[in-house]
Amino acid sequence: MSARRLAEQQPDSFEFTPENKAWLDRQIAKYPPGRQASAVIPALWQAQKQHDYWLPQKAIEKVADLLGMPYIRVLEVATFYTMFNLEPVGKFFVQVCGTTPCMLRGSDAIIEVCQKRIGEQRHVTADGLFSWLEVECLGACCNAPMVQINDDYYEDLTAESFAKLLDDLAAGRPTHVGPQNGRNRSEPLGGLTALTEFYGADGKSGPLSDPAAAAQPAHPGK
């Protein structure tokens, strides 16, 4: 990681949508009077969601004004948490886990695909579809290697399945969220070996094994 700065190209203004403003007012109301600053992270998060997954300077200032905080205090928060993007990201923002378990299971190959397909980290492709970032552990180690694309996890990747995933996303085809090797969540690849009587007859876990429900379209995050 290196020092993070605000993007050079900045929009002229930022305004919360009425729905987001109402949502934010509810968050602020959770805290006692004079303690509105506690809502800074939800406020920044909502601003980022509203603004194509990155935080412009005006959004930081807007949040500061809403919460009665000095600008520098909000900037401190926005630069501290790496989940706040300070620069534009692609429509599909790929966060590749490179921490030890994923690295041992082949995240280097995933990163190589990113470099070949997308280019350098923190650079958006010319068509605006992709950008990627290597991040620290995302907490899905049993499905390593994995990436997070916008709000969804894609797990048990190989270079081939990941390349296909990117193709599908680029082409707007539906994708399968979760493990890409036929595994059901973090269950064993060959089906359950214990507690089988509690779950579905197909040897996979019950309630969510409906394939129709599992195959959700990828969110662009809008």
Binding site: M1, S2, A3, R4, L6, Q57, P70, Y71, I72, R73, L75, E76, T79, F80, T82
Partner: protein, 685 residues
């Protein structure tokens, strides 16, 4: 109180004391970077690690753990701490090694060298060599204002500057962005700091990351001759140390005085030093055919003597300046008395304050320390942030302590703390005096502080406003009637009676066209003297007074003379001479003494000591240096009431950075002023 054993020495300290304070009580010094007595505890530098028995079995940050957090021994023995055990030594060496990993080895070209905490503590507590062979981290320099130069690679992220701007200044200019090894100290998008106290971050910075920009590469700390002095840029009388190298004043630093300025000074006090050598009057001048020409002292005195002989005392006047020492004004007044002149006045702004109403009528009676004890504050016609930033920081600290109601009558400025704005003019004050609104808060308060500024006093109804304000302020032993002056010389001038005698004219009347034929300006630059009178200016800078003058006699600035200044609370303070006035300039009292001999009215002193002896006889409390002679609050009840006008209060200070001739001559102050006005685009890089 709690007992604790520090390196075998048992001490009894308040339970809320930190281990660091307890160690200091026992006479043990603990190294520290982030900890500062006047800031909140951060605990992030880890330099103050100590070993404790009765606490966690690992080195403990002594600045952040209090004595009451430690458990006693199994048999009830007091907890023990060690500041020199092998564990502590190893911990300090380790912390120091980590701090030095990313600290550049540029001490030879660093201005902090010689007064650097990191350098000193690395010598005292560090290892003798580095084991680190990787590349060091480098950090981009930041623009944070015209007064502070940054060298951010040297920063050790102690966050003292961040806490100072957030807590003391109240402007929250600085912050720590990024995380981990990418942490950077900066202002918001590299804008200039907005506080009038920002220069203090250079004193707080324990390394060479934040340095005073105007003093960049000027001198090494050990080259300075250090002279204790008193600041004259406002009426607080902040204690300063004047550092000179050769004849030149290079920098001014605060001296610690908890009763006055603690350890802060305003930017004007600190950085108008370059004004001391610019625009200086270094020889007498005479106006001939409308142009000033250099002259000798005897020529100048001859011209004045001719004019004095031709003028009747009724048509002669003396106006005292804002930066003059008590001795200067005393000598000028002695000369005026000898000449039989009644037209003398030091109140250039026309403040309706008169020594005949008693000393309590013009002092900051609550005293600066009394701000900490006050429980309600009413500010009338003053902008303390500009009239005395350090005093304002004290008000802010009192506000931060909680349970402190503040209201303002006058212009609603950003004072760095919230307040209730009651109105713009005397109507609002009359309402409070009737006990309505904020008047109820004051009535309930035991120690109300009524801060009256020049904006309320320097106007036609000033005396009536003072009388009204005084009624609100006195409760039992507490006298909260507090005048915040804008001129360093004002209280001293009023103490020695530098006001019009029987039938004499005030400063404003003297400046009117046709009022006088001969006018002496004793460093008076804040008044516009209309055409007509023959003006003799005794002062230091080619400012307004000198431009108007017919004869200029060069005087000594406050760093160039030993003199007494009485601050707004009535504290008599002595400043020492740090250097000599330039060229032919002389100390003002000596100028008047020499002039008196030429006029055949020789004054009865030949030295400063003799002058002081006379002064002490006339005004005994001038001998009590650093003391406040308490004023009798009873006099306040006799203040004459009068009619109030409807006009709003306006603070006389419109530009904080340019209030006196020294500051107006200073390039640094001009830059600050332009920046404050927004004329200068905030440089991004």
């Amino acid at each position: 109180m709690a007992k604790i054993i520090v390196d075998g020495i048992e001490v009894d300290v308040p339970a809320e004391y930190t281990l660091l304070q307890a160690a200091e009580t026992a006479g043990k010094e603990i190294p520290r970077f982030c900890f500062h007595e006047r800031l909140s505890v951060a605990g992030n530098c880890r330099m103050c690690l100590v070993e404790v028995k009765g606490g966690p079995p690992k080195p403990t940050a002594s600045c952040a753990m209090s004595v009451k957090d430690l458990r006693p021994g199994p048999n009830g023995e007091p907890p023990e701490m060690f500041t020199n055990s092998p564990m502590v030594k190893k911990a300090r060496e380790g912390v120091m090694e980590f701090l030095l990993i990313n600290h550049p080895l540029d001490c030879p070209i660093c201005d902090q060298g010689g007064e650097c905490d990191l350098q000193d503590q690395a010598l005292a507590f560090g290892r003798d060599r580095s084991r680190y062979t990787e590349n060091k981290n480098a950090v981009e320099n930041k623009y944070i204002g015209p007064l502070v130069k940054t060298e951010m690679t040297r920063c050790i992220q102690c966050t003292r500057c961040v806490r100072f701007t957030a807590e003391i200044c109240g402007t929250s200019d600085m912050g720590n962005i990024g995380r981990g090894e990418d942490s950077e100290i900066t202002t918001y998008l590299q804008s200039a700091m907005r506080s009038e106290l920002q220069g203090n971050v250079t004193d707080l910075c324990p390394v060479g990351a934040l340095l005073p920009r105007p003093q960049n590469f000027r001198a090494r700390p050990w080259e300075y001759t250090k002279t204790p002095g008193v600041d004259v840029s406002d009426a607080l009388g902040a204690n300063i140390r004047i550092d000179t190298r050769g004849r030149e004043v290079i920098r001014i630093l605060p001296r610690i005085n908890d009763a006055v300025n603690e350890e802060w000074i305003s930017d004007k006090a600190r950085q108008s030093v370059d004004g001391l050598k610019l625009q200086r009057l270094d020889r007498p001048y005479l106006r001939e055919n409308g142009r000033l020409r250099p002259a000798s002292w005897s020529e100048a005195f001859g011209a004045i003597a001719a004019k004095v002989q031709a003028t009747s005392p009724d048509k002669t006047g003396f106006i005292g300046g804002d930066l003059s020492s008590v001795e200067d004004l005393f000598a000028a007044k002695a000369l005026a008395d000898k000449l039989g002149v009644k037209n003398i006045d030091a109140r250039q702004d026309g403040a309706k304050l008169d020594p005949k109403n008693g000393r309590a009528s013009y002092l900051f009676n609550a005293s600066v320390e009394g701000i900490d004890a006050a429980d309600a504050l009413l500010i009338i016609g003053s902008n303390p942030r500009w009239e005395s930033p350090v005093l304002n920081a004290r008000i802010r600290r009192r506000w931060r302590a909680g349970d402190f109601h503040i209201a303002v009558i006058g212009e609603p400025h950003d004072l760095t703390y919230p307040y209730e704005h009651l109105g713009a003019g005397p109507d609002a004050l009359a309402k409070v005096a009737r006990g309505e609104g904020f008047g109820e808060v004051l009535a309930k308060a035991e120690r109300p502080l009524i801060l009256v500024g020049a904006g309320a006093l320097a106007r036609e109804d000033g005396a009536a406003i003072a009388a009204l304000a005084a009624k609100l302020a006195v409760k039992g032993d507490w006298n909260g009637y507090s005048v915040l002056h804008t001129a360093a010389s004002r209280v001293g001038a009023l103490d020695i009676g530098f006001v019009p005698g029987e039938g004499g004219l005030t400063a404003a009347a003297m400046a009117k066209a046709g009022a006088l034929d001969l006018l002496f300006l004793v460093g008076a630059d804040e008044i516009n003297v209309e055409p007509g009178a023959f003006v003799v200016y005794v002062g230091t800078h080619g400012d307004r007074g000198a431009h108007r003058a017919d004869v200029i006699l060069p005087g000594a600035a406050y760093t160039e003379k030993s003199g007494l200044y009485v601050n707004t609370e009535g504290r008599v303070q002595l400043t020492d001479r740090a250097g000599f006035p330039p060229g032919d300039a002389r100390e003002d009292w000596a100028v008047f003494r020499a002039l008196s001999a030429v006029l055949g009215k020789t004054l009865p002193f030949d030295s400063l000591a003799q002058l002081r002896a006379l002064l002490n006889k006339a005004v005994p409390h001038m001998a009590q240096i650093d003391e406040i002679e308490k004023a009798d609050a009873g006099a306040l009840t006799k203040l004459p009431a009068g009619a109030l006008s409807g006009a709003a209060f306006v603070s006389p200070i419109t530009d904080f950075y340019l209030t006196n001739p020294i500051a107006r001559a200073s390039k640094v102050m001009a830059e600050c002023s332009a920046l404050a006005k927004g004329a200068l685009k905030q440089a991004a890089e």
